[in-house]
Each structure stands twice: as structure tokens, then as C-alpha cells.
Chain length 364, copies 2
DNA sequence: GGCGCGACGGCAATGGGTTGCCATGTATTG
DNA sequence: CAATACATGGCAACCCATTGCCGTCGCGCC
């Protein structure tokens, strides 16, 4: 029969179980945390009593003596960017498998916020996965000294890193554009603090060199749709026939921004993005983009972090690299004219179909 | 000068500060946790010593005696659904303002996972925000007995709830469709375990009754783009001229699924969604949808949770309700013919523009 | 029989703040 | 001036599980 005497708000502790099972609290503790250290019959009895009393080990108390919280922090640059959804999922799955809980930190693309949040959270987590950090290398190294850290999408000496194969991704994109007859590619840059931004540009320089395709850069712009739309403005001043955007959100912004100005995609300009977010398949035209195994990124980074927390040394040589692939959709096409890039023909943009008065056209 | 004698791996505790400041540990503790309880000069001195020694209060230790972890759990149905991004952001912002840390739990649309994750996390958080829970009312009530809980997008008696004004949203959508000449609306249902799904359908019934518009329902389907595409198949068997989808993702799936079958949107069918996710503005045609103040939802729910954690009673009357508004884009239009719904003219779907051989057409 | 060893379980310290209660000293009030 | 109130700070118990160390006991071996 259930125990109605004990006030229900009082937690059951190992001491309660100890009294009931007629052993010492340490035995109860050991019965759970190191069963091999106690006679199996005793352990069984303790477990039964614990069950009967509804004992649940208090993770907070455990934390205090073991100095392990069984929590990890996952820091992402911008939760609004759908790339992170799959990364988060992969990380959570891996963490849960290892009996760890994930604390998500959204840095909102801000170095300052990121640092502040990590500093606040650091004491309560056993390790950190930094996905696309905007902090400086030295800041990251500092954190890495205090806790196990795995860095995603960035290579930093002496810190375990996991990156996608940006050079190959860029190379594939450039080859693709080259095959379509493009001999100039404009890179639309994302945040300067973003490591992938740097490596993508450098990879583009290199690929351009090898394949004899001229490259140039505009930006930086915010890595968002709005950022891409701003880039579209700028691009109008210096037209291009092929564009490689830092990420899909910017590429989508470009498609929209250029589209509104009457530029035909892919007729006038071919556009390639990075990430293969869901929306890449939703815009018109569908966006050609370099896809990365997002789920695997989150999962692998987290698994590696957990081994480090368990005491493994942490893979600090060259970064582990994950493969990418080019997904071709409809935002890229053969170059229309073989001559020099000519100013775009400004067509009349399609007029906005009438909307009943009184209805909001766009949500601000 | 810095202290080089103390081993660097040893944390500075209140005891160290106490000795150095020549007060008792309790005074140090109070200097930080209840400054009013100690002379301001003493407090200042303690703070300076603490600063000099690099003391940082250990949240884990605090946790053990106060039984407050200063963490809350935010449970969302599917991190892949962009609606949650803004909700998460609002929640995080509010939590951070209140010095709380957020643990994100992605239930992956599964009742079972959701329960399991909450049970695991419960002991380490002070409260829970349930955004679009798929659990049963009774399960939620059970959790609510153990910890402060605020429920988002759902109304449950005796549990503080926050909902958006679904009836009004539906009403607006129906009025809009009515003005466009539609006299039949098909509701494409989402998960049965989703509360908004139920209320939206009921609201539609009611609005239809009042405005003399016939309604019917198909589904349920998964609340994803894929789900919407499946719904499109089914819809082809029983054509409609106006569709209200459970959410934007399904609506987008419908647009694509129907589009592929040569159905003209909005010419043949008008489609309205819910949520106003970013992608609603990206698809062609742009999706008319009912927008909710997502950031405010997350923020308000969290703020309310924090007051409950601080001891406030929790608003358990009728749920608090947040306003919505209809965002009209291009997926809705005047009904083409005034007669009965006629079978759709199956146009030839636009052929897929050629793609260089060897390139992946779509990322699986 | 004597010695050594392993299995088992208990004691008590530990982790780092928090807080109820009491002691002291100062300020206020009648 | 006595009496009460308040401000301040210390003591020690407490939160709860973990773990190093030690004692006991039984068994096996020489």
C-alpha cells in the first residue's frame, strides 16, 4: 500500500532508502552508481526498497560531488537559419544517447552575445559544441582551456574541429558554372567573422585560378534573406553572369532582389548557394546549392565531445572533414551570350496582382 | 599582483573570499545573494576581494541548497519547423533577462519522445514551457503538478495557457475567401494530437455556419511539406476551390503538390495557411496565411513561467490569448467560375528543364 | 594453525553555497 | 533613562550523493 504518512513534497533520498533497507547510505549510493562494488543480493534489496519508496537519484546532488553535470552546450549563430535545425537534431540525438542534456544557445550572429552566453553557461556544462562561432580564435581557445570544446565549421589549431569539405564544394560549384560557359564568378560574401566565409572565398580564388575563371567579391552582407536582397542592389551596379553566395539564405535574397528588378534567373545570372536548406527547393527558380550532411555534423561533433568529456584526448590534428555535394536545381543555366558581361536588360518587373483593400500585403 | 601560489585548477570559493575579506562565509554569500542583508561597505569590500580573487559563484552548489537550478525547459514539437525559431528566440530572451538558462527539447512530433525527454529533464529544471505539446491533457497535468508549467498553443483547464486567437484567425481567413466568392472550404488537417488542429477545424465549422460557407475536412496529414504533398494527392480525388491548411508547411506542400499536377493556384484553388513562416513569402505564389506573434508567444510564456517559479500563482483561468492577423499574398484569388466546384482542368505540368547529366536533381 | 587476500559495508569527509537562529551593538521611542 | 526595534554578522545545520579509507569476516593456502 502506498505511504500516506510522508509529506509528498519531501523528496526521497538515499538516507530514507538506507533506513528502510537497513544499510548505510553509502551502500545505497553504490548500489546505483557502482553495483559491482556491493553484494548482488544487497543491491537487489536496495533497488527494490528504492523502487517501493519512489526514490530517484538527485542529479543535482550528484553533480556537486562528481563535478559532472551531464549537460553540454550547443552554440549556434542564428536559430532563425534553418541550417541549424538538422545540426541541433543530430547533436541532441547524440547527446541523449550518451545520457546528456543539451542547452541551446542562440548567439544571434553576435560575438558579444555569444561570449556572454557561454560565460554564463560554462560553469553548468561539461562541454561545448560551437557551431559556426563568430568569436575570435583566441576567445575560443580560452574556452577550450576550461572545458572540452568541439568546433563545427571552422578550423582552429589545437582545438578539435569538424568541417565540411568547403574546397571541394566550391570546386564542384565552379566546375558546374564553368561547364555552363561562365568565365566570371562573383562571390557574395557573408559575415567576415564567419570562418566558412573566408575559406569559401579562398577556395573560389584557387578554383578560379586552376579553371581559368575570373572571380571577384562583393560584400560582406548579413547572411540572411535581407542581406541577399541588399547584395542584389549592389550587384545591379556591377552586373555578373554567375554568382556564388555565402549561403542559401543570401542566395534566396539575391533571387528575390534580382527578380524584383527584372533580372532573369538563370537567364541573366546563375546563382549558387550553400547549405541546401529546405527553402532552396521552394523558391522559384529552385536554388542550385552545395549540400552538407547537417545531421551528421551535429551528431559527430557531439559524439566526439562526449568522448572528450569521458577523458579521451580530443582530436586536435587537422580537422575532421565531412563530404559535401552539389545539388543542381534551376538557378543555374548556360550563359546566354558568349561575350562580355553586358548590363542587364531591365525588364518591367511583374506588377503586383491586385489585393483587396484593407488586407495587409506583407507582414513587417 | 596575481596570486601564483594557488593551484589554478582549484576553484575560488566563498571560503577563500571570506578569509581574505576577514568576514565569515555566510557574509560573503549574502553579499552576493541578498546584498540588502549586509552593510553596504562590507558588501563592497567583499565584492572587491571576490573580484581580485576571481571568485565566481558556483551555480551548482547554489542549486543544491536553494533547490533552484535557474534553468527552464522549452519543449517544441519539431525543431525543423521554422515557426519555432522565433518562439525559441522569444523564450530565450525572456529567460536570459530573468537570469535563467533554457534547455531545448525537440519532441520530433512524438508523444513518447516528448514524455521521455521531459521526465529525464524535469529534475534539473525549475519549470517548463510546452510549445505545441503532443501529449495528452492528463500527462501535461501530471507534469504541471510537479513543476510550474506554461502551455503554449493549447488550452488545458487548471494549467496556465497561452494561445493565439485561432477562432479570429480562421474567421478572417474565411471572410477573405468568402469575399473572393468561395462558398466551399476544405480543411486539410494536421496531427490529431495537435490542439490548434482541433480548434481550427471547430472554428472553421463555426465560421462556415455563420457565413454560410460549406466546410469539409481531409486528413490528418503530417504537418510538414511532405504531408502537404500527400494531401495534394488526396485533394485531387475530391477537388476544392478553397483550402485552409493546418499550417504553412502543409500549405506549401499543397502548393507544390498541386502545382506539379498542373493545378493552377490561385486560379483553380485558393490556399490559406497558418503561421506565416518565412517560406510563406518565398514560394510561388506567395502564401496567404494567418500570422501569429511568435516572438511574443515565446517571450510571454516564459515570462509567465518565471513569475510562477518565483512563487506567483499562475494564471489558470481561461487562457491568455494573443492576436493574429491575416497576411494576404497571392495564393488566394476570386473564384474563377460561379458554378459548382468542377473537376480541375489537368494541364500539362511544366516540363523539368534539362539538367546536365551526372548532377543530382534533388537531395534526398 | 597462521597468514594473506578479497569481498563487503560503514564512517566520515567532501563539494560550495544558503539560511534559520542567535548575539551584539546601535538607533529610536515613550 | 529604560525599553524596544533594527541593523549587522557569525554559527552551524542543511541540501544529497559520492568516495577514500578502514574494519570485519570468511576463505584458501602453506
Amino acid at each position: 500500500m502506498p505511504d500516506h504518512t510522508r509529506p509528498p513534497d519531501k523528496r526521497v533520498t538515499i538516507y530514507d532508502v538506507a533506513i528502510e533497507a537497513d544499510v548505510s547510505p553509502s551502500t545505497v549510493s553504490r548500489a546505483f552508481s557502482r553495483p559491482s562494488r556491493v553484494n548482488s543480493e544487497t543491491a537487489e534489496r536496495v533497488r527494490q526498497v528504492a523502487e517501493r519508496l519512489g526514490y530517484r537519484t538527485n542529479p543535482l546532488a550528484r553533480t556537486l560531488s562528481t563535478a559532472r553535470t551531464h549537460m553540454i552546450a550547443l552554440v549556434i549563430a542564428d536559430i532563425t537559419n534553418p541550417v541549424y535545425a538538422e545540426i541541433v537534431r543530430g547533436a541532441q540525438e547524440a547527446a541523449t544517447d550518451g545520457e546528456y542534456t543539451t542547452v541551446l544557445i542562440d548567439a544571434q550572429e553576435s560575438d558579444r552575445r555569444e561570449r556572454a552566453a557561454i560565460e554564463r553557461t560554462m560553469p553548468t556544462v561539461d562541454g561545448i559544441v560551437l557551431a559556426s562561432s563568430r568569436m575570435s580564435d583566441s576567445a575560443i581557445r580560452m574556452f577550450a582551456k576550461q572545458r572540452p570544446v568541439v568546433v563545427l565549421n571552422r578550423a582552429i589549431a589545437d582545438v578539435p574541429c569538424l568541417v565540411t569539405d568547403n574546397p571541394r564544394g566550391v570546386r564542384r560549384a565552379v566546375e558546374h558554372l564553368g561547364e555552363l560557359g561562365h568565365d566570371h564568378i562573383t562571390y557574395v560574401a557573408g559575415p567576415e567573422a564567419s570562418w566558412p566565409n573566408g575559406i569559401r572565398w579562398r577556395s573560389l580564388l584557387e578554383a578560379g585560378m586552376e579553371l581559368e575563371i575570373k572571380v571577384r567579391q562583393i560584400g560582406p552582407f548579413s547572411p540572411t534573406i535581407a542581406g541577399g536582397e541588399r547584395a542584389a542592389e549592389e550587384l545591379c551596379a556591377r552586373p555578373a553572369t554567375a554568382v556564388l553566395a555565402f549561403n542559401d539564405q543570401m542566395a534566396i535574397g539575391l533571387i528575390r532582389g534580382l527578380g524584383r528588378r527584372g533580372v532573369d534567373i538563370p537567364g541573366d545570372v546563375s546563382i549558387v548557394g550553400f547549405d541546401n536548406i529546405v527553402a532552396a527547393d521552394l523558391v522559384t527558380p529552385g536554388l542550385t546549392t552545395v549540400a552538407a550532411p547537417l545531421y551528421a555534423e551535429g551528431s559527430a561533433a557531439t559524439r566526439h565531445l562526449l568522448t572528450m568529456i569521458e577523458g579521451a584526448p580530443g582530436h586536435t590534428g587537422r580537422p575532421m572533414v565531412l563530404p559535401v555535394r552539389l545539388v543542381v536545381r534551376h538557378s543555374t543555366a548556360a550563359r546566354r551570350s558568349a561575350g562580355r558581361a553586358r548590363p542587364w536588360v531591365r525588364q518591367q518587373p511583374a506588377p503586383d496582382p491586385a489585393v483587396p483593400a484593407g488586407w495587409t500585403r506583407r507582414f513587417p
